[in-house]
């Protein structure tokens, strides 16, 4: 293994140039004020105090609530789909997974524009409703439209890791559970679901993180009056031109994300330990590796 260590260095450089340095710049801007010139800055905490305004905090709150809602809906739709796909024959599975991934080949903007023409007042749904004699329903620029857009865009990221963890599961464990007298439902909750938890947690991470920082989808489907934390940051940079305040808010969001990631990581570790007890230690390493591979999809 040792001789491969050097192969990491390009990645380290990449990480440093494109993640560490920009993060440091954000932190620098967040703690300074006065203009964008390096020569005129002053250190200050004002940007953070400014964000403590209840109006601004409510934006953060709204983003978190919407993120949780999106993740929950993705999970409720995604898990049964992943489960059903995992039950199919191997060839069918490949096709079904391909069908799930195909929409992600199309640009996010295009997909969201498509939703705009579906949901708008004179859009496809409303025309259909009108032609069968029902009135128009106002959908664009509401929570409903934003959540639909986010669920649609992020659903594959929930299905894929869950599917991977389900297919990599040792079938003999469910057979053993049935043999020992557990019903199908009991087997599902006590064995299958618990063994797929790491896939679920990966799915939750991969949906929740983009959902709380999303700004294109809420902007297009929620309208300009719909402010989530991503839109708020964009607005500070692009239209208001207050890079310091925008950076401070970005930093707050980054800290929240890191804390949440740490929490999820701890939960994941704990479920793996408990799985290990049931499964026998030597299985764990190989399984986790495969899941990681799946989640990179």
């Amino acid at each position: 293994m040792k001789q491969y260590k050097k192969l990491v260095s390009p990645y380290c450089f990449w990480l440093f140039a494109l993640t560490i340095i920009p993060m440091m710049l954000i932190a620098f801007y967040a703690f300074t004020s006065k203009g964008t010139e390096i020569t005129t800055f002053q250190f200050t905490l004002d940007n953070f105090f400014k964000f403590m305004d209840p109006i601004f905090l409510s934006v953060l709150m709204r983003s978190l609530v919407l993120g949780v809602l999106t993740t929950a809906i993705c999970f409720l739709i995604g898990y049964p789909i992943a489960y059903m796909i995992a039950k199919c024959k191997e060839n069918t599975q490949t096709i079904l997974i391909l069908l799930i991934t195909i929409p992600t080949w199309i640009n996010l903007l295009m997909r969201t524009y498509a939703w705009m023409s579906i949901l708008s007042n004179n859009g496809i749904i409303n025309n259909l409703l009108q032609s069968i004699g029902l009135g128009r329903v106002h959908m664009m620029y509401t929570d409903f439209a934003v959540v639909i857009g986010m669920v649609y865009n992020f659903l594959p990221f929930m299905i894929l890791p869950i599917h991977t963890s389900l297919t990599n599961m040792d079938k003999s464990l469910t057979e053993a559970s049935m043999d020992l007298g557990a019903s199908r439902i009991q087997t599902f909750f006590k064995v299958t679901f618990r063994l797929s938890l790491s896939g679920v947690l990966t799915g939750i991470t991969m949906v929740f993180l983009p959902a709380i920082s999303a700004f294109v989808i809420p902007k297009m489907l929620g309208g300009g009056q719909y402010s989530l934390i991503g839109n708020f940051i964009e607005q500070q940079f692009i239209t208001v031109g207050n890079w310091h305040f925008g950076s401070a808010v970005s930093l707050v969001l980054a800290v929240i994300v890191i804390v949440l990631m740490a929490l999820i990581y701890r939960v994941e570790k704990r479920t793996n330990v408990s799985n290990e007890d049931e499964e026998g230690g030597n299985k764990r390493y190989g399984k986790r590796k495969k899941i990681r591979k799946g989640s990179m999809h």
């Binding site: 109006i55 007042n121 309208g223 009056q225 839109n231 607005q235 207050n242």
Partner: protein
């Protein structure tokens, strides 16, 4: 799956190789930064052919985002900002002077557009389009009587959930300040705060949708009863939807000018001047104005357009009455005050 990846990779490589051969090399390139949908693309193509050069054309959706990109290190030769942004760019020493000796089409430029306060001697800009801001309304939904309320009609509870506000700090505050009877360039903190309360009150009672260019398509299909809109966009909407009217309240509105400016970065000043001159020639100005619907500052083209395609469309025109104002440059403090209030309006 592996095989599929291989095929895709081959395909990608072939297409890369092909694109390498296909491109033609030009002796000169010109980087132009303009508003979205603000030109007839054929005019750009014509310029490329005639002057054997490559125009790298990029678009922006607000003066502020243009400014942010410019400060972010992007290099452009020609930009097309509005008057208050031109004033700011002049003050921050980011522009080169126009060489008027190369602008042979100057004679067609409308004299009332030139010599504005922000650049009295026209040293830094060449006018392109100009116009007002007003209310676009669906005649089947909005009665003429309600419009007599002026800007306040945008807070008439009859139209709750049925209006578009313009998603920009300056335009929204313009509406609020004019509705209250103040100057839209006020620096008086009490007046600005009052305008802020007006906007907050409007958000609470009217449930307006804040949008920018989306409103153009939306109003073409009468999505909502009213929308705050720029005159040229309104003209484009009226061309397609006969139910739409355009109204400018007596309390006054914004008069704006968009024009060509040349950045300090520009090395080939002659080519830049040729481009500007080409864009404002009688023929090309007409093509541009017909394509985008904004009032051109070329008098010959404006006359032809208003007697032709835009006949009877009141949004294709200009009002410069006593109460109508041009945006003025804001000092950093004033700008920050507006921005903070605007952030709060948007965050509601």
């Amino acid at each position: 799956m592996k095989r599929f990846v291989k095929v895709m990779l081959c395909f990608a490589m072939v297409s890369l190789a092909l694109s390498g051969c296909g491109g033609r090399s030009y002796t000169h390139t010109l980087r132009v930064f303009n508003w979205g949908e603000y030109v007839d693309p054929d005019v750009i193509n014509g310029f490329q052919r005639e002057f054997d050069c490559k125009v790298v054309y990029e678009t922006f959706d607000s003066n502020e985002s243009m400014y942010t990109k410019l400060l972010g290190g992007n290099k452009y030769d020609i930009m097309v900002p509005s008057e208050y942004m031109i004033e700011r760019l002049i003050k921050e020493n980011l522009l080169q002077k126009i060489d008027w000796s190369l602008i042979t089409n100057k004679s067609s430029i409308d004299s009332k557009v030139l010599n504005q306060n922000f650049d009295k001697a026209n040293e830094y800009w060449v006018p392109y389009f100009y116009g007002n801001v007003g209310i676009v309304y669906d005649k089947t939904q909005v009665s003429e009587n309600d419009l007599n309320m002026g800007w306040e009609v945008l807070r008439n509870p009859k139209y709750k959930g049925n209006i578009y506000m313009y998603d920009s700090e300056r335009d929204s505050f313009m509406v609020a300040l004019k509705a209250l009877g103040y100057s839209m360039n006020t620096t008086n903190q009490n007046e600005i705060e009052e305008a802020y309360q007006w906007l907050i009150e409007q958000r609470k009672t009217m449930d307006p949708t804040y949008a920018a260019d989306d409103t153009i398509d939306a109003m073409k299909s009468s999505e909502k009863a009213m929308a705050v809109m720029y005159s040229g966009d309104a003209a484009a909407v009226m061309l397609e939807n006969p139910d739409i009217g355009f109204y400018m309240p007596e309390e006054g509105t914004n008069v704006w000018f968009d024009g060509f400016v040349v950045s300090k970065e520009c090395e080939n000043l002659e080519l830049a001047m040729n481009f500007i001159n080409y864009m404002i020639s009688d023929e090309n100005a007409l093509n541009n104005t017909l394509e985008v619907g904004y009032l051109t500052s070329n008098t010959v083209a404006a006359k032809e357009a208003s007697e032709g395609d835009f006949q009877g469309i009141n949004a294709y025109g200009i009002r410069m009455d006593q109460n109508d104002e041009v945006f003025a440059y804001q000092t950093q403090d004033v700008k920050e005050m507006y921005s903070d209030f605007w952030s709060k309006v948007k965050a509601q």
